[in-house]
Amino acid sequence: MPKPLRLAIWVALAMTGALAVGIIALHRGEQINAIWLVVAAVCTYALGYRFYSKFIATKLLVLDAHRATPAERLENGRDFVPTNKWVVFGHHFAAIAGPGPLVGPVLAAQFGYLPGTLWILAGAVLGGCVQDFVVLLFSVRRDGKSLTEMAREEIGRVGGVVAYIAILSIIVILLGVCALIVVNALKASPWGTFTIAMTIPIALLMGVYLRRIRPGKVLETSVLGFALVLLAIVGGQWVSQSPHVGPWFTFSATTLALLVIIYGFAASALPVWLLLAPRDYLSTFVKLGTIGLLALGIVALRPTLHMPPLTRFIDGTGPIFAGKIFPFAFITIACGAISGFHALISSGTTPKLIRREVETRMVGYGAMICESMVAIMATIAACVLQPGTYFAINSPAGIVGAAPQTAAAAITNWGFPITASEMHSLAQAVGEQTLFNRTGGAPAFAVGMAHIFASSLGGQALTAIWYHFAIMFEALFILTVLDAGTRVGRFMIQDALGHVWKPLGRTSWYPSILATSGLIVAAWGYFLWQGVKDPLGGINSLWPLFGIANQLLATVALCVATTIVVKMGRARYAFVTLLPLVWLVTVTFTASWAKIFSPNPRIGFLSHAQQLTASGANPQLIFNDRLDAAVTAALIFMVALVLIESAWLWWRVLAGRKEVQVREAPFVPTRFAEEQA
């Protein structure tokens, strides 16, 4: 293509993007079409990928098309396998896509669609994609080493220990929050509970089919499992309407929490092939299919956003979580913009599959763009709802009241009209007893998704089926994150305890398996229990805690990346990783300070504990607040140590006081050099 034509296309794309961002940012008083968010996102991502990622690849990282990757040098057909770049891209995206980009944007929509959208776009292009890309490349150049190993080798011992503790903490908090989302989505919902319960026998059947009847035919088995899950969703309607069977699947939040805790323990302690591996395949199949379907639905149907660009809750009085846009919008939306957890994937399986160094750009930067697009779709799903409906679903009983009339009146008083009868009709349309106080984000996302699909595919008659399909999709893959995370946490504890007493590190020794499974489940189970018992719904305190932990992990990852950049002698381009690092430090430290010390009891853990003490509340609730404050303080203290250790190292390297040691694997020429990038 001639250069002037290429230039004209990029200029047109930039102008279209600017127009779309202008419309979503400046439009006031009238509702806008969701397609403007999609256009703004696509143009921003295209420009970011074409220009910024190329700048990073050529100037900062200096990707070398002639250098062999560990997949080639250490090829063993098991962990290290040179793989087609599109295949690695799909594999990497499937690993990073989780419930975070769906839930965070739904919760942040309480500020309106504008803050979340702008943060998702800017955060991804300048922060999240950069982190995933550079960490992936640095891991590739270090034989696929993990973030913890790189932190220990490049920063120092403190960096390694803190990375380990931060990873374990984020896993514990993440699992507690994920479990809480599932519990809130399934409580008093026989239809949803039945569907999810049925995935257990379906997975068992898949396990037997896969092992005995068609060994290795995972795709075929997953299609079969998916068909059975669809049947379970349809059957769930009958269950929910049956006066005899319905009550068997109607559980309170506390009962569901106990069931989820038992499930988590079993998932960690039992062999995986029969139940968990097939469930994992089924969950991935449903996840990828549904994300694709939702993207098609939004583009084809172009729904109108009913949520205003900014709501009155930008003042920090939001019912879903308290706090102003800065810093709380930026920790509420993590995975769609920047997520420290991705650094674990980028330094896990993916670097061992990369065939050519130049492909890290497409896989690392590109897959995060797709993840960010999922977050934009979640924002759209939440904002197509009438604001009154959105707040009725997401507001906890502790804020708006438990009675439908009281809750509807409170929400109407905020300027978002809704009536108890409208909510009752909506609940009936989706096959639920009530949609009030369904905190956690999943039910609001499911109602939004059902709203988008039911407007064309099957009409209103299928609203309930679409709603329960969305609930099943979210609950299924959140539970998969839960069982996978519990096992990963168990292995991490076993690895650490193995240094204390060798048998504890043996992953096949049952006493150790039971003890460490119990430890990790008790840790996240405590946070789940705390959330279930919290009169404010749990999300108000736990989601910010999760956001802080996740962004602090990103801070550690960017510290490692900046340290390597400085050691590589490319300090003049260090702003690429420093910019998101400084932003994250500002956001997380401000948010942590507010969550611990804010005098507003809805924000500060300590002032809330004080308020509870004064009112003579349950001592357990007071202890929970103090525990949350201590966990937050411990996390920022540790990350501050890594920051200080890193900054000290940068100064010594730049001042020439320390000999630079870049711990890259030696250069070996690749046999794939002639291939097109």
Partner: protein, 66 residues
């Protein structure tokens, strides 16, 4: 015209191949094929069970993102 259609068909065929390969990688079918090649065994109930035993620990250590 004919040439254009031929090129498009080839492109679609190539895209479909990559798509199937991606799914096979995500769903561990490729990993099973590599296991069979590496150990020079034929696909069977026993070899799949052995693959699952070998694969289970590595898979269980992989974090899934939030």
């Amino acid at each position: 015209m004919k040439r254009g259609i031929h090129h498009s068909a080839l492109g679609i065929q190539r895209a479909a191949k990559v798509f199937i390969a991606t799914l096979r990688e995500i769903f561990d079918e490729s990993a099973y094929s590599r296991f069979l090649d590496r150990n020079r065994v034929a696909p069977s109930t026993a070899s799949y069970a052995a693959f699952q035993r070998e694969h289970a620990t590595a898979k269980a250590r992989r974090p899934k993102c939030c």
